[in-house]
């Protein structure tokens, strides 16, 4: 396998804070990578670095063999890197269809507005939003807004899709629907990074897991192995719990 994305010793400082601190790992083509870590670990910051929102203050980001650390967000988007936001970011006054069409038009290579609308419709159908196409995005429920984020990203024809807590705030039925969608997207050959707090979800879909803590990479590997790693348990539950339960994740 070849790496689609490679982080080489990347760091991001905010003033005196090392939000991401000398992190290196790579993501293989076709893989679903789980990115986990306690609150404030630097997961979202890492995605922001990859997408150019907050460029790295140190190190390099390589995408498909090309250094993208210095590119601007729209350039990175056009290379085929799409993301959803932890806090959903629709264009509230535009229709659901227009929201998705934006992705197709500006990054997905659609030839014009009509073609963008057609592509958008496909992805709304795929994400189960087709009957909402003409409603303003602001009218959607949280679960549907999260799916709209997904539809927008898919309309960009991504090669790498980064999902920042797409399941947070959803009920169990909605979560299993969302997981079904993510698996289908992966089956189409899209490489995926999922940020996720629910361990069950991480275990069920990731091929591999990377753990961040205080901005540093503390473990990576096969999901079950990583979750029973002592430093990972410590990070999540504190040193005391780890000592009392030497083996086994919660």
């Amino acid at each position: 396998m070849t790496a689609l994305l490679a982080l080489e010793d990347v760091s991001r400082r905010f003033g005196g804070l090392n939000a991401v601190d000398h992190v290196s790992f790579s993501v293989e083509k076709g893989e679903i990578l789980g990115l986990i870590g306690p609150n404030g670990a630097g997961k979202t910051t890492l995605i922001n670095m990859i997408t150019g929102v907050h460029p790295p203050t140190g190190g390099r980001v390589q995408f498909d063999g090309r250094d993208i650390s210095k590119l601007r967000p729209h350039q990175i988007a056009r290379l085929g890197l799409a993301r959803t936001f932890q806090i959903v970011q629709p264009f509230p006054k535009m229709t659901v269809l227009e929201n998705a069409a934006a992705g197709a038009l500006f990054a997905g290579g659609a030839g014009g507005l009509d073609e963008a609308h057609a592509i958008a419709r496909e992805h709304l159908t795929f994400t189960g939003l087709a009957d909402m196409a003409d409603k303003p995005a602001a009218a959607l429920t949280l679960a549907k807004r999260k799916r709209l984020e997904l539809a927008k990203s898919l309309a960009m024809k991504p090669r790498l899709l980064m999902l920042d807590e797409v399941n947070a705030g959803l009920n169990p039925t909605e979560i299993s629907e969302a997981l079904g969608l993510i698996r289908k997207i992966a089956d189409q050959g899209v490489t995926i990074i999922v940020i996720e707090h629910l361990m069950k979800v991480v275990l069920s879909i990731s091929h591999r897991v990377v753990v961040l803590h205080h901005g540093q990479l503390i473990a990576q590997g096969e999901p079950r192995e990583v979750l029973s790693d002592k430093s990972v348990i410590e990070a999540y539950l504190g040193a005391k719990y780890a000592a009392a339960n030497p083996r086994g994740a919660p």
Binding site: H74, A77, R78, A102, F106, A107, M156
Partner: protein
């Protein structure tokens, strides 16, 4: 299609005005067209992209002075107008690079200062610009009536061109991208919108027609001075007109221009001293109570009537 028909019909009706109207009416109609240009132009950056610009006065004055100086150097009038438009466009593109990374109030304040800067430049270069003494323009050797008609048609053509541009832009990829930026700039960038060049395009569009309007105005009144063409009210009125007529709509600016002009002619003239205060009050009321424009009230009422049937 509906927009094009509306535009052509309204413009054709206005074009017959010299047949029926007197000079006073023609003067009002010329101002109306000029106001429509200022408002429509502001709508590109303020309404479509969501960047509240106060640079209109700067563009207007720059266009007026560029054209006046060139004509005094012997350039034919029309050519001077065109060059003024081009100069203003390039100026806006360069200025955009410097201030369009600012957001909200910061952008508004930065854009406000530009007119003051240009005014200072004019004041300190009397050899070229006449400084505080102002600048005379070549006088046209035609009758007063012919002049009134001439400048009316010039302003009307400009308003037509500006609105036609708006119709094209609103339905284009550029217009779509600008609406994305207006609603959420960060999300737009992540979707591949080149926010920087789109905003610069919108800012340039908001300048070019205003520059030409300033140039035409200068020829029309024959004499310009800094307090006249860099007037702060020129920066505030476009915003008021667009808010009156409807933010980000095609005909809102023209309708807002008509409302403001009528207000100025029939109310304002009698209460000269309360000018600025009245304008301020209108802005506050509009922003607080009618963010979608005065017309939205009528539209809602109309929708309710239809719903009740």
């Amino acid at each position: 299609m509906k927009n094009w028909i509306t535009l052509i019909v309204v413009a054709a009706m206005l074009a017959t005005l010299p047949l029926v109207g007197n000079n006073y009416l023609l003067r009002l109609a010329s101002i109306l067209c000029m106001y429509a240009v200022l408002a429509q132009s502001w709508n590109f950056i303020g309404g479509l992209a969501g960047y509240p610009s106060f640079a209109t006065a700067a563009f207007f004055g720059l266009g007026a002075y560029t054209s006046a100086i060139l004509q005094n150097q012997g350039l034919p009038m029309m050519l001077a107008w065109g060059t003024a438009g081009l100069t203003t466009l390039l100026f806006a593109a360069a200025l955009g690079g410097a201030i369009l990374h600012l957001r909200g109030h910061y952008f508004a304040i930065a854009s406000l200062i530009v007119a003051e800067m240009l005014r200072e430049i004019v004041n300190t270069t009397p050899n070229l610009t006449g400084g505080g003494m102002g600048l005379n323009l070549p006088i046209m050797r035609i009758s007063v009536e012919a002049q009134a008609r001439y400048f009316f048609y010039a302003m009307l053509s400009l308003a037509f061109l500006c609105t036609a541009t708006a119709i094209v832009v609103y339905r284009s990829k550029l217009g779509f991208g600008l609406r994305c930026i207006q609603q959420n700039e960060d999300a737009a960038s992540i979707l591949g919108v080149n926010a920087y060049s789109y905003k610069t395009a919108a800012f340039s569009l908001s300048a070019v027609f205003v520059g030409i309007a300033g140039a035409i105005y200068a020829s029309w009144v024959n004499y310009i001075e800094p307090p006249d063409v860099f007037d702060i009210l020129l920066a505030v009125k476009p915003l008021v007109m667009v808010l009156l007529g409807g933010l980000g709509t095609i005909f809102g600016p023209a309708i807002g221009a008509l409302i403001l002009l009528m207000f100025e002619e029939f109310v304002w003239r009698n209460f000269l001293t309360v000018h600025a205060a009245a304008l301020g009050l209108i802005i506050v009321v509009l922003v607080l109570f009618l963010p979608n424009g005065l017309l939205s009230l009528l539209r809602e009422r109309f929708a309710r009537l239809r719903g009740a049937r």
